[in-house]
């Protein structure tokens, strides 16, 4: 008798038939997958946006080191090199008190006239990582020739805290919701296997291999997972656009510039499909194991 190997068409057909044979439970499973993916996706997108905003802030994050007035040109040049050589320093730029005065006048046309001697020679220091901002400030101010500094380190540390909190929250939620989704899809497939336990028994006694029995259920889980992922992606897209439009039209929140969905739709879809497929296949794999012991 000619034997065929992996019968993909049969497994997919059986998977679809099984979904419709207990439609209500399948619908509930898809709804839960959609809900879990949207919650998971929303927090992940929040983290992505927070990270993007913080990265932008990091890019322009700098502090000023004011140079002692007793320093000459050679000392200033040496000090600049010393600062540049410090860890976590991205760049250093020297601004003389005359240039600082000119910049003030340019930035504040019609403003208060300040004499040049109000300003001081200074170094503009950009940092690489915001986490090390305070350490870098301390290292710079410890150098001889640095008289004072001006920095918003509390703000910088605040940014770091927000980003860490968003990342931890997103990670914890992803773990919890993935577990919940796994449990639900696993129960759906378990119910499907339970209603078909006699069929499974007949299959086994006729000589079906474990994989032959398992594949239709794996495909059922996969189909449910992928369908849930596509629905969740479309809803996520809508929700994201709504929030973006609401923020754009809000006068108060114009500070927050969200990443356009067009720039991230592909990775979002990819992650949703991967998460849906994983939840579906792993959940059904767990569920069917106990029914194979015949």
């Amino acid at each position: 008798m000619k034997k065929r190997g992996f019968n993909l068409g049969y497994f997919i057909t059986e998977g679809f038939q099984s979904i419709f044979s207990h439609g209500l439970m399948s619908f509930a499973a898809v709804c839960m997958i959609v809900a879990c993916l949207i919650i998971m996706g929303s927090f992940s997108l929040l983290a992505v946006n927070a990270d993007e905003m913080l990265t932008k802030e990091e890019e322009k994050n700098e502090f000023f080191a004011y140079i002692d007035e007793s320093c000459g040109d050679e000392e200033i040049a040496r000090l600049t090199e010393q600062v540049r050589a410090l860890p976590n320093v991205a760049s250093v730029a020297f601004t003389s008190k005359e240039d600082a005065h000119d910049a003030w006048v340019e930035d504040h046309p019609g403003g208060i006239e300040l004499p040049v001697n109000v300003f001081r020679d200074r170094l503009s220091v950009h940092v690489v990582e915001l986490e090390l901002f305070t350490d870098t400030v301390n290292a710079v101010t410890a150098l001889p020739g640095v008289a004072d500094y001006s920095a918003h380190s509390e703000l910088a540390q605040g940014f770091v805290l927000v980003r860490h909190a968003a990342t931890i929250l997103a990670t914890v939620l992803v773990a919890i919701l993935a577990a919940v989704s796994l449990f639900i899809i696993s129960n759906t497939i378990r119910l499907a296997a339970f209603t078909r336990r006699e069929e499974i028994g007949i299959m086994k006694i006729c000589g079906a291999t474990d994989s032959f029995v398992r594949w239709p259920f794996i495909f059922e889980g996969l189909i449910l997972g992928l369908f849930g992922a596509v629905v969740a992606f479309l809803l996520q897209w809508g929700i994201y656009t709504l929030v973006m439009n609401a923020l754009a039209s809000s006068g108060v929140l114009t500070l927050f510039e969200m990443v356009p969905f067009a720039a991230i739709w592909l990775p979002v879809l990819g992650v949703f499909l991967l998460a849906g497929a994983l939840i579906g296949t792993v959940g059904s794999g767990f569920a069917i194991s106990r029914f194979l012991k015949v």
Partner: protein, 226 residues
């Protein structure tokens, strides 16, 4: 060939179902396995189909030694067997043809082969015109014929019938037993577990009697006696 050598079976709850059973069924034989309820008949069937493992002793089925069979080999051993149950175990939502296709698909048969084999087997069991009927549209006797056809469709070496006439009236029981005898005459080994004294006496085949987990009688062309 089926061979049990010094087989003991003790279940997890401590009940001793078999106590040193020795039995050999050669290829092409027709054997009745008789005994009262709880005597160990079903345990023997479960050992042969590898649903249970012997606690002690050796079980060999169609060339497979079940004492050291690997899990992945069990399906292939089962493909040498066809099993008929008392309660038919047909899939109600599938037609007669689909029930047989289901059994053939399990072992990887293709459409062409199904189209060739299924009409032949249905003719053999006398259900040539019932291929598109659903089980609930058939009588008990006809349903059991479908079950026999399903057991036969993958051309097994041995058919094991566990109380095949238990749910049928005497006339239908006789029909089923005659059918099994005809299939045996074509070369398939037949092991029939039954309580039906009259049928056993009527067919004059080898009778193996079991009681309290021990084989107490093994007679060629014997009658039902415990």
């Amino acid at each position: 060939m089926i061979r049990l050598v010094g087989v003991y079976k003790e279940y997890d709850n401590g009940s001793k179902a078999l106590k040193g059973v020795d039995m050999k069924i050669d290829d092409g034989e027709f054997v009745f396995l008789v005994g009262p309820s709880g005597s160990g008949k079903s345990t023997i069937i479960k050992l042969i189909t590898a649903e249970e493992a012997a606690s002690e002793g050796q079980v060999i089925v169609n060339g497979y030694n079940l004492n050291n069979i690997r899990r992945w080999q069990i399906p292939f051993m089962r493909r040498t067997l066809g099993v008929v149950f008392q309660d038919f175990r047909l899939i109600e939502k599938k037609t007669v043809r689909q029930n047989l296709e289901f059994a053939m698909r399990v072992i990887g048969a293709g459409r062409k082969e199904m189209n060739k084999r299924i009409p032949y087997v249905l003719e053999l069991v006398g259900l040539g015109g019932k291929a598109d009927a659903y089980p609930n549209q058939l009588s008990g006797g006809e349903q059991q014929r479908v079950a026999v056809a399903r057991a036969l469709v993958n051309n097994p070496d041995t058919i094991i019938a566990d109380e095949p006439t238990g749910n049928l009236d005497p006339a239908r029981s006789l029909e089923i037993m005659t059918l099994l005898e005809r299939i045996n005459a074509m070369g398939t080994t037949m092991l029939v577990v039954t309580h039906e004294r009259e049928l056993v006496n009527r067919f004059s085949k080898r009778v193996v009697s079991i009681k309290d987990g021990s084989l107490i009688r093994d007679v060629q062309e014997g009658g039902y006696k415990l």
